[in-house]
């Protein structure tokens, strides 16, 4: 361990399970963290980055993990150095929350639902600082103010469910800051947040770390966030360290192939300037022929509104409506991709569902090839569904776990009576090959597939009826970047071959820039701006569109840091 290091991880190996089932998830990992610096650990799911974080806090044991070899040396406030990998639970308890604190990925579940926000912060102070209830509460109120939560006195007495995701994450940060720790571990702290909220939370963490002189160990999969936060980067893959570099060097001259592949799969905002249509990852914009967008409209949505009534009082009187979709109009041409972007709650998913009549619109028209699908009776609507299919966000939830891949894919064909008998098998084989899987995959069940493969299955299922329109509702959002790039490429390829139209619903501006011919920006149920991709990304008109684009962390270490002030100006809290 270097004499100045605050934390030194030395040859750490962690495994889960026992005996024959034992699985190494971290293998021979070493790196240091120095006081006041931010070290980012990046990797895709299964790289062992979160397990590393939990090992530092001595929490792996609670999840069934074991530290097999190695040391985690930590310099305490009093100057003594302890090996956290071997420390007793009693000593770990005096370090956790006091000298090392943690911020978690899911602000929705990281807080206990039955205790007030104030209590959950004050509890840390009572535990480590021997404060009485009153003093601890006063300090907790201070902390809530410090993380810029408005109306702190009221928030103090509220429960987690009464706070938005961004506010909850601020509460978790306040909790972590309570004892002024020397090291703050942040495990994907902004992954679950909207991009504009993410920008604010990252700013907050950076400012607080600077004020407190805290070191940050930042676990993330997002190269944009890395560029923005880190001084040094550790790239992990399958439990091992692939590369360790200063942040600017890593982005400018990655040493390892894996790092290069990871960086090339990251959608870079602005990298598409000058190209007309969607472009596959890795394709050369000069030679690739983007699918031309036809002018003949396939889908016309006119003044669509979907409201959800709110009922109040003893008699459940109708007290108002949530205007999830409010007077929305757009068109999609044949072979064209229209992206619908916006943050959570903007109504983009409800718009997609309303077009398919999975949600019930209360006004407007949805014309598919000139015919209003909202006016069709049950049988006609069922027949019409052949032309419109949907791919959902979570490929784990979208496939029935007890049905094998073959039946998943052919079910639409059977329901609509398109194919029978051996023809079904032939069609299924054709479909799985088209989405990049093999015929033998057909006999497997969903749990035998990876996330990316499952999403390919979902796409195959959507394709089975040869639809004209596919609604992709955050279809690549749950996937790792390299897998995400593959699935995006598949969608683009299918569009070119089959002339499909997409309504591509997404919160991710980087992916949207890749996939779209045109873009519509939604906020609070309304479309605030529609335009060609170039218009939206190169010359946005609406302030919200500008803020949305400015808030995206840029995967460029030389640009990332200067960005945040602009977001703050555009989006006053």
């Amino acid at each position: 361990m270097s004499a100045n290091a605050l934390l030194a991880i030395e040859n750490l190996s962690v495994s889960f399970g026992h005996g024959e089932k034992a699985r190494r998830v971290v293998e021979g990992l070493s790196f240091d963290v120095f006081p006041g610096e931010c070290v980012a650990v990046v990797g895709e799911s299964g790289s062992g980055k979160s397990v590393t974080a939990f090992s530092v806090l001595g929490l792996t044991g609670f999840n069934g993990g074991t530290i097999d070899t190695g040391a985690i040396r930590f310099k305490r406030r009093d100057g003594s150095v302890v090996n956290l990998a071997k420390a007793e639970e009693r000593m770990m308890r005096t370090i956790r929350g006091d000298e090392i604190a943690m911020v978690f990925q899911e602000p929705m579940t990281a807080l206990n639902p039955v205790f007030t926000v104030g209590e959950q912060i004050a509890e840390v102070l009572r535990q480590h600082r021997d404060m009485d209830r009153q003093t601890a509460n006063a300090k907790a109120l201070d902390l809530i103010t410090r993380v810029h939560i408005s109306d702190p006195a009221r928030r103090f007495t509220q429960y987690p469910h009464e706070l938005s995701g961004g506010m909850r994450q601020r509460v978790v940060i306040a909790m972590a800051l309570a004892c002024s720790p020397r090291l703050l571990i942040a495990d994907e702290p902004t992954t679950a947040l909207d991009v504009t909220i993410q920008a604010q939370v990252l700013d907050l963490m950076r400012d607080l770390a600077r004020e407190e002189g805290m070191a940050l160990l930042f676990i993330t999969h997002d190269m944009g966030v890395v560029a923005e936060m880190a001084d040094r980067v550790v790239v992990m893959h399958k439990g091992r360290k692939v590369e360790e570099q200063g942040v600017e060097k890593l982005f400018a001259q990655p040493r390892e192939n894996y790092t290069r592949a990871l960086l090339s799969a990251v959608p870079k905002l602005g990298s598409m300037a000058g190209t007309a249509g969607p472009l596959a990852f890795g394709a050369d914009p000069r030679t690739a022929k983007p699918a031309p967008a036809a002018h003949e409209p396939l889908l016309e949505v006119k003044n669509l509104s979907t409201w959800f009534p709110i009922h109040k009082g003893l008699l459940k009187r109708h007290a108002g409506d949530v205007k999830a979709v409010d007077d929305v109009s757009f068109t999609i041409g044949r072979g064209e991709t229209l992206s619908l972007v916006g943050e959570s709650g903007s109504g983009k998913s409800t718009t997609g569902r309303s077009i398919l009549r999975l949600a019930k619109p209360h006004a407007g028209e949805v014309l598919l090839e000139g015919q209003d699908v909202l006016k069709l009776d049950r049988d006609a609507m069922r027949a019409k569904r052949r032309d419109m299919q949907i791919v959902f966000q979570d490929p784990y939830a979208a496939l029935d776990p007890r049905i094998d891949a073959f039946d998943q894919i052919v079910e639409p064909l059977v329901i609509h009576g398109v194919e029978k008998g051996s023809a079904l098998r032939d069609r299924a084989v054709e479909l799985v090959r088209r989405v990049g899987l093999e015929a033998e995959h057909l006999d497997r069940y969903p749990h035998e597939f990876s996330g990316g493969q499952r999403q390919r299955l979902c796409i195959a299922r959507a394709l089975s009826l040869s639809p004209k329109l596919i609604i992709a509702d955050e279809a690549v959002s749950a996937l790792d970047v390299s897998i995400q790039a593959q699935v995006v490429n598949l969608l683009i390829e299918l569009q070119q071959e089959l002339g499909l139209s997409y309504l591509f619903i997404s919160h991710d501006m980087g992916v949207v820039e890749r996939t779209s011919h045109r873009v519509a920006v939604m906020r609070h149920g309304k479309i605030v701006e529609t335009g060609t991709r170039a218009q939206i990304f190169e010359a946005p008109k609406h302030d919200y569109t500008k803020a949305l684009i400015a808030a995206v962390p840029v995967a460029d270490a030389t640009r990332g840091r200067s960005r945040s002030a602009g977001v703050r100006k555009l989006l006053p809290a």
Binding site: G97, F104, T109, A110, N112, V114, V124, Q127, M175
Partner: protein, 307 residues
């Protein structure tokens, strides 16, 4: 939240109303009560006189009006057997049954919560398995079998406990245990499952990351959340207890309302029966209402769902 609880309270009152109406007509549907009171072969005049005396010759709706009026003025009629006000009989009997309920419920909760907790924390080892086996036996043994075994062991062989009657608190011990057994098993099972569910939650990881000792992680952060589903089953348990108390009181000759209602049903003493059924409905409805209020008090999320 107030809206929701007010709605539940109104619902409870409506339920009681339905029970009151149903009980009246159900007892009238099962034949003329006079026939059960008179010896066989009695002449028609005596029978007619009896019917008039009992008011059974009046139109049904008029009888119903008298019955409802009686309910509100505290006049529940006269027992056809004992020839004294129904209310007096229940005033003697109800305290015994309520005492039995309180003992049984207290026993089941006081033992069930900690045992369920220990079973959850010891999942997969001998302690956990032992607790769950005992719970399973408690659940699967019919209560009259358990009652008879207990009487054999503790009264006839060991002479530790009285086998029947309801004179002193000691008399309630065995019936309370028999009444509590299946409830205890259910509470252990539910507490264990709720705890296991909660133990995997992210907020417990947060609690540990704060440096809280394990007794606070489990005893404060986990238990408070696990208590929510357990409380909801207590309401159902009270309803189950009402059904079982009939048998338990018969076996142990406890002078309670279970025992009373059984004899009233056999003997067509319908003033007693009517009021017994209404009283039982009142107990069940009240207990589920109490559970609703407790649920709202325990879970802050309930409040917002309604408002």
């Amino acid at each position: 939240m107030l809206d929701q609880l007010a709605r539940r309270t109104l619902g409870a009152i409506a339920t009681l109303g339905v029970v009151i109406v149903a009980v009246f007509f159900a007892t009238r549907l099962s034949g003329n009560a006079a026939d059960y009171l008179l010896p066989p072969g009695v002449d028609a005049n005596t029978r007619a006189l009896m019917i008039t005396q009992m008011g059974l010759d009046q139109p049904l709706l008029l009888q119903f009006a008298h019955y409802v009026q009686g309910l509100f003025s505290g006049d529940m009629g006269i027992s056809l057997f004992e020839r004294r006000p129904v209310l007096d009989i229940y005033a003697e009997r109800l305290p015994n049954t309520l005492m039995l309920f309180v003992y049984a419920l207290g026993l089941a909760v006081a033992l069930g919560l900690p045992l369920g907790l220990v079973a959850a924390l010891n999942r997969g080892n001998a302690v956990g398995a032992a607790i769950m086996s005992v719970a399973f036996v408690g659940y699967a043994t019919p209560n009259f079998v358990l009652a008879i075994i207990m009487i054999l062991v503790f009264s006839f062989n060991l002479h530790w406990l009285p086998s029947s009657g309801s004179m002193t608190p000691i008399h309630f011990l065995m019936p309370a245990i028999v009444l509590a057994a299946p409830m205890l098993a259910e509470i252990i099972r539910f507490t264990r499952n709720a705890m296991l569910d909660v133990l995997g939650q992210d907020y417990l990881r947060t609690a540990r990351a704060k440096g809280l000792p394990e007794h606070l992680v489990v005893g404060k952060h986990a238990l408070r959340n696990a208590a929510i589903p357990v409380v909801t089953i207590l309401g159902l348990q009270v309803a189950g207890m009402v059904a079982r108390v009939v048998i338990v009181e018969s076996v142990f000759a406890t002078k309670g309302i279970g025992d009373l209602v059984v004899f009233a049903a056999i003997g067509r003493d319908y003033p007693v029966l009517q009021f017994g059924v209404i009283l039982i409905a009142l107990i069940v409805v009240t207990s589920s209402l109490v559970v609703d209020y407790a649920y709202a008090a325990l879970d802050p999320r309930v409040k917002v769902a309604a408002s």
